[in-house]
Symmetry: C2
Subunit: 289 residues, 2 copies
């Protein structure tokens, strides 16, 4: 299937490259022109004139952009070129409300929309081993699955448009809570004077174990917060959780607690560190005032 890719950022560029290797990539587009030119030159891939031009040439459009506004902008620009029967797959993490509105807009142009946010980070994007959480029409997903399988080792369908974003929000809330758990416990152990690298390694094997403790425990104890998953990006995702919870008029305790901590860390210049830098805030609990 003739596929176009929109958004050549840290995640998008390796995803587009995997589509090229699979022989389905027709052309790419990027909001910042220089980055598009560079990618086209480096990888011998056509750069579309504009998004409408890309849309005209493709049956499948895959987008990976930074936020709701960027996604709305590229969809608006694509509309004049959209081909009847085409499919738009957005892999960005944006709000449920935005993807529902865009799906309606695209439906009026006979273009189907799937929200398909991913997890697995830059490494997963590079290896084509992302996990994809999809919402939309299931038959449409099955139609484009051969393309998406180039990007993801696992693709799960969770229901109508927006269900992918909802599942991603659940994942990001869970990650925030686990970050709180690991950070608070390790800081507590440090204050107690325990040999924390060995304690963390032992605990990771038991019922209090987690991916996070296994993969970040030792670096946290050493004070190394190289990303990984950038704290500023997780903050953005937790804002989406808050928006969704607002519809129930609910405050999610772990989301609110983590947003307070992340805000403080960003103000102190730690927004580009890994989310495990949260332990900095927990250590402060034990500092003499």
């Amino acid at each position: 299937m003739k596929t176009g890719f929109i958004g050549l950022g840290a995640m998008g560029a390796p995803m587009a490259l995997n589509l090229k290797r699979a022989g389905v990539l027709v052309a790419v587009w990027n909001r910042t022109r220089e980055r598009g030119d560079q990618f086209a030159a480096d990888h011998d891939v056509p750069l579309a004139e504009d998004v409408a031009d890309l849309a005209r040439r493709c049956e499948v459009l895959v987008s990976c952009v930074s936020d709701d506004a960027a996604l709305e902008e590229v969809v608006a620009q694509a509309v004049p070129g959209l081909q009847a029967g085409s499919v738009w797959v957005d892999t960005s993490t944006v709000s449920v409300a935005t993807v529902r509105a865009l799906a309606d807009r695209l439906a009026s142009r006979e273009t189907a929309f799937l929200d398909a946010p991913v997890s697995g980070g830059v490494e997963g994007a590079r290896k084509g081993s992302l996990v994809m959480m999809a919402g939309g029409d299931e038959p449409v997903l099955e139609r484009v699955r051969p393309v998406l399988q180039v990007l993801a080792r696992r693709i799960e369908f969770f229901g109508r448009v927006g269900s992918g974003q909802a599942a991603k929000a659940v994942n990001q809330l869970m990650a925030a809570g686990i970050n709180q758990a690991v950070s608070e416990a390790l800081a507590f152990g440090e204050a107690l004077g325990l040999p924390m690298e060995r304690v963390a390694a032992l605990l990771a094997e038991g019922a209090a174990g987690s991916w996070m403790l296994q993969h970040r425990g030792a670096s946290m104890v050493r004070g190394d917060y190289a990303p990984g998953f950038r704290l500023a990006l997780h903050e953005k995702d937790l804002q989406l959780c808050r928006q969704l919870a607002d519809e129930f008029q609910v405050h999610l305790p772990l989301v609110e607690m983590t947003l307070v901590h992340y805000r403080r860390l960003q103000q102190a210049g730690h927004g580009d560190e890994d989310i495990s830098a949260l332990i900095r805030e927990k250590r402060k609990l034990f500092e003499p005032s």
Copy 2:
């Protein structure tokens, strides 16, 4: 080494049986006489007259009792019988302050003390696959390691007396935080109308994954809270975390939050359920008021 076992509860009984199978168990004792008689009859193991009698006959005493008061009581009763050069290994989860005081008391009777709380639950006790967190004198631990290896697949030494309990407290705090994370996220996903058994299974494989999600996610979604790890016992352990934090004049946010939830759940009659029953409290957030 001639070993005596004190405390034939849900954890202690299978631990004692493993010591018997290994051929090192001389006799047992239990506070409730009937349970001691029953164990002795069922397994053809001598029941000691009293703790002092047990102490007189053994080089190693292993205890597994329910709380600080019970441990203080059996140590007091043992004192008249303690043999110079013997070793007391306590596998209970009790306070750091208590084990430090008891270690001093036993030292005056030329008996070494190791605090060696365990994790792995009843299943780990039965299989001899517990994880043991030890504090005390390292050469003493090495001396009795052949006995303890009958009980635990892994034995880690973390420092002076009390370090085992401190590490266990870190573990229990981490478990509380992860319970919060998994419960809040799953309840959120339910409110969003997602197919949560499949969402939980997917999330368990990624960076938000944990032992708890892997092993309790599906049962939580189904509303099944059979223990597992009893909520009332975790509540007791979190009180020990609070005591330790009090020494720093610190409130640990996840400990305080979880104690509030567990208190409410116990008042509602859920104290004997698995700790994953915490999701009951998170679901209430989304109930129409």
